[in-house]
């Protein structure tokens, strides 16, 4: 093994070893049930803020955001902004009252606020649902990253992350992981910032890619003729090669390849007039290939030329179009241009579309403003509705420190997120070949390698970012595992199955649950290799936004909320969002062949804009209709949620 391959491995081993040791060390102090579920409610503001930030910054934040900014430009800046902004709403409306309620899990709030054991069952199933949707991308990220850095098989990364964290959680519970997650936050900030400063000193400052883009609005980055590894149908829609409509491209197939389809890109609208008969020519080969070929075998060493052509729209406007290849299986290709000209990067948006608002991400369905707002609502309300984040607020000593913690979380998250778009921008400037292979989300790992053209220093820096990514998988998974094990041991076992259980029994059950859920997570992780990371996180956000966020918002501030009202809103909001988002995914994967109108599609892809108001309204209407069922002690509970501790009305639901 070469030194440049060994260095990232050493970094990953270092971060994994540190995680185990810190976990074991912190566990010495973890002995009671309260330690396991809520870290003894004694975590101070600085450590808790570090731990919440460490838990929240997942693979999607560490690698995904940079990739989205590289791929979509300005529009993707809304992602980190929305992730951070969600905490402002948490702070304004939820953090204080939630802590003052003083339970162990979020389903405790559901039952305790209304004295409704039935509602706990609804709430606990949402915790597990959201938890698993959020866990799978962490598992996949671990598998894929290790495969990318070390060339290990997919399952190795999953086994490493899964077993290390399951061990940590099972021996130490919430108290055991708090210190680990806090340390991992600082590792991640270090890993996202220090290598970036070195990369910037070599390729240019943040404003350079933006100035390049501004200078030539129709320009597209050029790529060298290196081998490009394409993904297969399982990764759809990330198996596409959309060739530039500005320049002629030559595509050389370096392996025997199967194409699902060749099609005109952008997709023609009704009334468009064009002639694509000369768009595609196989050079020196008898291969029958055209702009509408389907299920086609392309032999190794075939060279095709793709020439852009004019499209006249129904209103007389003339635009350019080219072709898109969709790959059925993994393949290797090269993209070049005739006459030794530099080739235009496939799949890359033109400079103007990348730099300016309402680019490819938000305009794809034709309603850019609507899409932007839906995205903002989904991210903001989703963040404020994630049970594994919310549960951490119980670990504060009191309501006041819960608010201060949230303030520090926002500072820490901002200090992290401000760097991620810089990675994406520099990726566009210096490594546009990542567009072609649809792997922009590896920019954070790959970009550092170019500081010395594949030498030791590049490997060192890439090792640091790889270790940061690894810390991200581990810290987020540990938070999810605590939240799910807590739901299982405390809510399902301790409250539903065996209410007579002693705290020691619940603690033992917590350990069993951690091992069991850890094992199930690893097994499910092995099955989702072909799923899209950002997509699965999107599901968790969509469900959280339309279920827990409305519950906590109204539950904390409106005395008149009833269990029936809250449950109806949560179920309908959460399930319709899920149905909408899964339908869109099935359409994308071509399992379902329904023609969705662009407006309907926008609303289904980002359901929060209608699902959150729907859930809130249902909660209000059904509660009004069942007003007789407002709990008799609603006044006492409301006072407990809002009274400063000094007044002496405070009482933890579980002390």
């Amino acid at each position: 093994m070469k030194a440049t391959e060994l260095i990232p491995l050493l970094w990953v081993i270092l971060v994994t070893g540190a995680t185990i040791l810190l976990g074991v060390w912190a566990t010495k102090k973890s002995s009671s049930a309260s330690d396991f579920f809520v870290a003894g409610r004694s975590v101070n503001v600085f450590w808790n803020a570090s731990a919440i930030s460490g838990e929240y910054l997942s693979a999607a934040s560490f690698m995904g955001v940079a990739g989205l900014v590289m791929k979509n430009g300005y529009d993707a800046l809304w992602y980190p902004v929305g992730y951070a902004a969600g905490y402002l709403f948490l702070l304004l409306f939820i953090a204080g009252p939630l802590r003052r309620f003083g339970a162990y899990t979020i389903p405790d709030f559901a039952e305790g606020r209304f004295h409704s054991p039935a509602f706990r069952k609804v709430a606990v199933s949402f915790v597990l649902f959201i938890g698993f949707f959020y866990t799978l991308p962490q598992m996949k990220g671990a598998g894929v990253t290790m495969a990318g850095i070390m060339g290990w098989p997919y399952f190795v990364g999953i086994l490493v992350v899964g077993s290390v964290i399951t061990f940590n959680v099972a021996i130490g519970g919430m108290k055991g992981i708090t210190l680990v997650q806090a340390a991992q936050y600082w590792m991640k900030v270090f890993a996202i910032s220090i290598p970036l400063f070195v990369v910037m000193s070599v390729v240019g400052f943040y404003n350079k890619p933006l100035e390049v883009a501004r200078g030539d609005a129709t320009g597209i980055p050029s790529i060298p003729g290196d081998v490009i590894k394409m993904k297969g149908k399982a990764a759809a829609p990330n198996n596409a090669l959309a060739l530039s409509s500005a320049r002629v491209s030559l595509v050389k197939f370096e392996t025997d390849t199967r194409l699902v389809a060749v099609s005109v890109n952008p997709k023609p609208k009704t009334g468009d007039v064009f002639d694509a008969s000369d768009a595609l020519n196989a050079i020196g080969s008898t291969l029958e290939i055209s702009s509408s070929s389907k299920d086609l075998a392309v032999p190794k060493d075939t060279l095709v030329q793709v020439t852009p052509f004019d499209v006249t729209a129904a209103d007389g406007k003339v635009g350019k179009a080219s072709l898109k290849f969709e790959f059925a299986e993994k393949a290797e290709i090269r993209v070049t241009a005739p006459g030794n000209q530099p080739a235009a990067a496939p799949n890359a948006p033109a400079n103007g579309k990348w730099l300016n608002p309402f680019g490819p991400l938000t305009s794809k369905n034709g309603y850019p403003l609507l899409y932007t707002y839906s995205l903002i609502i989904a991210l903001v309300c989703g963040t404020a509705g994630l049970p594994h984040i919310l549960v951490r607020f119980y670990t504060n000593p009191d309501g006041k420190s819960a608010k201060r913690t949230t303030l520090w979380v926002m500072v820490m998250l901002g200090a992290f997120y401000v760097f991620t778009p810089i990675w994406g921008s520099l990726g566009r400037l210096s490594m546009p070949i990542l567009y072609a292979s649809n792997s922009t989300d590896s920019a954070v790992i790959k970009l550092p390698m170019m500081v010395d053209g594949g030498g030791i220093w590049g490997a060192m820096l890439s090792g640091i970012t790889s270790a940061g990514a690894f810390a991200a998988f581990m810290s987020t998974f540990s938070g999810l595992l605590v939240s799910m094990s807590g739901a299982f041991a405390h809510d399902i076992y301790g409250k539903i199955l065996k209410p007579s259980a002693a705290p020691e029994d619940k603690m033992r059950m917590f350990k069993y649950a951690a091992v069991g859920i850890g094992a199930v997570s690893m097994m499910l992780g092995l099955l989702v290799e072909s799923f899209d990371i950002a997509m699965m996180v999107g599901w968790a956000f969509a469900i959280g936004a339309a279920s827990y966020f409305p519950l906590l918002l109204l539950g904390a501030w409106w005395r008149g909320l009833t269990a029936k009202g809250a449950a109806t809103g949560m179920l309908v909001g959460g399930l319709t969002s899920l149905a909408a988002i899964i339908t869109t995914m099935l359409v994308d994967k071509k399992v379902l062949t329904v023609e969705l109108s662009p407006l309907v599609r926008s609303l289904m892809e980002q359901p929060a804009i209608w699902a959150v108001p729907l859930s809130l309204l249902l909660m209000i209407f059904v509660s009004k209709a069942t007003a007789k069922e407002v709990p008799a002690d609603a006044d006492t509970i409301m006072l407990r949620l809002h009274a400063p501790e000094e007044l002496g009305h405070s009482k933890d639901y579980i002390s």
Binding site: L77, L88, G414, R559
Partner: protein, 92 residues
């Protein structure tokens, strides 16, 4: 303390707390709604060149984070003050 007194105290707490929360939320929502509108209707303003950045990129990519810090520390200070006030009123 009976239920009526509890409700009176709760309402007082909630009213002041929400007053503060809604004021800050309103500013924040105004920015979240306003920025896409500026981008759509005043694209030249949004694209103003500031040291190589377009103005709108600078706002969303960089300045937005310190803004959330200012708003949240305003809230935390205000919230702690109003709770101290209520404690003082109650202990009279």
């Amino acid at each position: 303390m009976d239920d009526a007194q509890k409700r009176e105290l709760t309402n007082r707490l909630i009213k002041r707390q929400l007053n503060l929360s809604f004021r800050i939320a309103a500013i924040f929502v105004l920015i979240l709604i306003g920025l896409p509108l500026v981008n759509l209707y005043l694209p030249d303003l949004a694209a103003t060149n500031i040291g190589g950045f377009s103005a709108t990129w600078l706002v969303l990519g960089v300045l937005f984070y310190p803004l959330t810090w200012v708003l949240s520390s305003w809230f935390v200070k205000g919230s702690e003050k109003l709770e101290a006030d209520i404690v003082a009123e109650e202990s009279k």
